[in-house]
């Protein structure tokens, strides 16, 4: 059976999407307990666009990134859903691929830059070896050519190729390793790149350089991107669309302008309100009161209700679904119409004061 069949039924998937995720759930087993890291996640990625996945620490962003390329650890299990990739070479169902097919899919169709910059490297191999290894895994063995390409990519990410290529990972600073990974992910010119916290270790100037680079790559190569970040400014700088995650679910999905102008989920309102105002001197920082729920025993109803200033009985009982409010905008909240009233109010302040 061919894995890339254009005659596959369109199902619910719009032909224009590059990746479609439907009803995806993932659990981790820890002893005899189940950590529900992702619950019924659905979304589409349009070709050429940049999607940001944002949300608090532990909300499931990296788990989603790993699930999309089937890089989850063995203790994780995908308990429901489908992931369809609709690339240049036809449609594939990711959850049906054999490990050999997956190996080809990764890097060439879809590359991941993982959050674990250090773990992603083999400590006894130089950076140059990493490039050769990755290329060899895809049947490319022309060393001179790979070297040239690696050289070019190093310059693209503002690294000194002459020094960095022969270095071992521990000889590079944190930010340098992160840029090496970005370069490596581009080696096989994938259609989709997933970047998990691509700029967290970088200073403002390097961050800008990377952002500029990613913008350019999108324009030149028509690259599609998914960023994972807790940093809203990265979404503001780069994303076309933003999916806000909370406790393993997508609670809002919208274009970037609407999110910043008019967040519809109370949690998004809180996140945006917590962005420090840098113009204020010695500004005090605002945080959302309470903590994210325990993924082992989730609250009933809406997972955000214990922290939500708008919650009522219904929120405690029923789980709100992600529904479309306007074309291209979705939110999972019974009270989204009132979310605006939380803006600027002190409903979310005072956690530590």
């Amino acid at each position: 059976m061919s894995i890339r069949s254009d005659s596959a039924p369109p199902a619910s998937v719009d032909g224009a999407t590059l990746m479609s995720v439907r009803d995806l759930s993932v659990v981790y087993r820890v002893g005899n307990r189940l950590v529900r890291a992702l619950s019924n996640v659905s979304f589409d990625v349009m070709p050429g666009r940049a999607l940001a996945l944002i949300g608090e620490s532990g909300s499931g962003k990296s788990t989603l990134g790993s699930a999309l390329t089937r890089l989850l650890p063995r203790t994780a299990e995908i308990t429901s859903g489908s992931i369809t990739f609709n690339g240049k070479e036809g449609r594939v169902q990711l959850l049906d691929l054999s490990s050999e097919e997956l190996r080809r899919f990764r890097w060439r169709d879809c590359a991941v830059v993982s959050q674990m910059a250090m773990n992603a490297f083999n400590p006894v191999m130089t950076i140059q070896d990493h490039f050769e290894d990755t290329a060899a895994a895809h049947g490319l063995r022309d060393k001179a050519k790979i070297h040239d390409k690696a050289y070019e990519l190093m310059e693209t990410v503002h690294l000194d190729a002459k020094r960095v290529l022969p270095s071992y990972p521990h000889q590079l600073s944190g930010g340098m390793r992160q840029r090496v990974l970005i370069a490596l992910s581009l080696l096989l010119s994938p259609e989709l790149v997933i970047l998990d916290e691509p700029t967290t270790a970088l200073d403002a100037l390097s961050q800008r350089a990377i952002i500029k680079l990613l913008r350019r790559l999108r324009q030149q190569l028509g690259l599609t991107m998914i960023f994972i970040s807790h940093d809203l400014s990265l979404a503001a700088e780069l994303a076309d669309d933003v999916a806000t995650m909370y406790a393993g679910q997508i609670v809002e999905y919208t274009d970037v302008f609407s999110l910043f102008d008019k967040p519809k989920h109370p949690y998004s309102v809180g996140l945006i309100g917590a962005i420090p105002d840098l113009s204020a001197d010695g500004a005090s920082l605002v945080s959302i009161p309470g903590s994210p729920p325990d993924l082992v025993s989730l609250p009933s109803g809406c997972r955000f209700h214990p922290r939500c200033p708008l919650s009522d009985d219904k929120c405690e009982r029923e789980l709100p679904l992600l529904v479309e409010t306007e074309p291209g905008q979705k939110v999972a909240c019974f009270h989204w119409k009132d979310a605006q009233t939380l803006k600027g109010s002190d409903a979310f302040e005072g956690r530590n004061s």
């Binding site: 820890v30 002893g31 950590v35 608090e56 620490s57 532990g58 962003k61 990296s62 650890p73 959050q115 674990m116 250090m118 773990n119 503002h158 000194d160 002459k162 020094r163 022969p166 000889q171 590079l172 600073s173 944190g174 930010g175 340098m176 840029r179 916290e197 967290t200 270790a201 970088l202 200073d203 403002a204 100037l205 390097s206 961050q207 800008r208 350089a209 500029k212 807790h230 940093d231 400014s233 979404a235 503001a236 700088e237 994303a239 302008f257 910043f260 996140l271 945006i272 917590a274 962005i275 420090p276 840098l278 010695g282 920082l285 945080s287 959302i288 903590s291 082992v296 956690r351 530590n352």
Partner: protein, 329 residues
């Protein structure tokens, strides 16, 4: 009384195929008891190396580091062990700094037991739970028996912070310790660390790539801006961050990320101007290392003389900058 920490003309070089790499050059600063020094600067400028030297994990190639007035390279035996308790380094990379075969409980319990900071098992468990709560890992029982690979990036980072707190240190070197957490948790971690500073007098060397975080955390302390291994601006944080004088510090301030998609897109249009060359410690430009990227560059002097840190003119304060062009303006 001597300051708690003092760097005197510290240098560090590493050998490389193409000759020695000067990672840190002529770095001097002091941190008072209960003081805070934030170190900011570009990726690769030597922040982590500075932190490791302060923690005694990397030796300076030249210069001295004093702790409580004593040269740390002379510490041995019980003295060294006392130093190791009083000074805690929170590593930049929580993925490689936590022992993968230890649960969170084991990681936090080990130093408590080693330094006999608890009386019995009940107290131990209680203390570990308390530490987890302090870093917002709630409910603590969910985390006690997890291994590092079972935690998200931000959760690991908080375990690393909690570990540093176990032994009641006098001096914490925090290397990018809030880089992986979202704004909400970041606020509460920063406030928690500030409380340690204000209530218990814990001193900090606070390393961050994020000027706005440095500014918040060290508002009452000092900030050092590093560029290719040297401190180019140093002084009280309000002055260094509000009245930044060095062209490099000014560039850092100007490129702070914005959290408004419209502003971000407008700014993208002038991104082509002044795009950085690849700065390299392999061949550090002669004179002022920043001169190839500098808008104030003056041929004949900037590319010849290494500028020294000097007090800003007409300023009573301790605000220092290493740029003769700015100083003579």
């Amino acid at each position: 009384m001597s300051p708690l920490v003092e760097f005197r003309s510290v240098e560090r070089t590493y050998p490389s195929r193409q000759g020695p790499l000067h990672v840190i050059r002529d770095v001097s600063f002091t941190i008072e008891r209960g003081g805070i020094l934030a170190v900011v600067g570009e990726s690769g400028c030597g922040k982590t190396t500075t932190g490791k030297i302060a923690a005694g994990l990397v030796d300076p190639s030249r210069g001295t580091v004093l702790f409580d007035g004593e040269n740390i390279s002379g510490f041995k035996g019980p003295e060294l062990s006392r130093f190791r308790r009083r000074v805690q380094l929170i590593h930049q990379d929580p993925y490689s700094s936590l022992n993968p075969v230890r649960t969170v409980y084991q990681t936090l319990a080990a130093p408590l037991k080693r330094f006999r900071l608890v009386k019995n098992r009940t107290e131990l468990l209680h203390k570990v739970r308390e530490l987890l709560l302090t870093v917002d890992l709630t409910p603590p029982d969910d985390y006690l028996y997890k291994y590092p690979h079972q935690l998200s990036g931000g959760q690991r980072q908080r375990v690393a912070v909690a570990r540093a707190l176990t032994v009641n240190p006098d001096f914490i070197i925090a290397d990018e310790s809030v880089s992986m957490v979202d704004v909400s948790i970041r606020s509460s971690l920063l406030n928690m660390l500030l409380r340690l500073n204000q209530e218990l007098g814990v001193a900090f060397l606070f390393i961050t790539h994020d000027l706005s975080v440095a500014r918040y955390f060290s508002w009452r302390g000092k900030t050092a801006v590093m560029y290719l291994g040297r401190i180019v601006e140093y002084g009280p944080t309000p002055e260094v961050t509000r009245l930044s004088a060095h062209p490099y510090s000014r560039a850092l301030v100007a490129s702070l990320p914005v959290s408004d998609p419209r502003v971000a897109r407008l700014r993208a249009q002038d991104d082509e101007v002044g795009s950085p060359d690849v700065p390299s410690i392999q061949n550090i430009p002669p004179g002022c290392a920043f001169h190839p990227r500098c808008p104030l560059y003056m041929a004949g002097s900037c590319d010849r003389d290494v500028p020294e840190l000097m007090g800003m003119r007409e300023s009573e304060s301790l605000h220092q900058v290493a740029c003769p062009v700015v100083l003579t303006r």
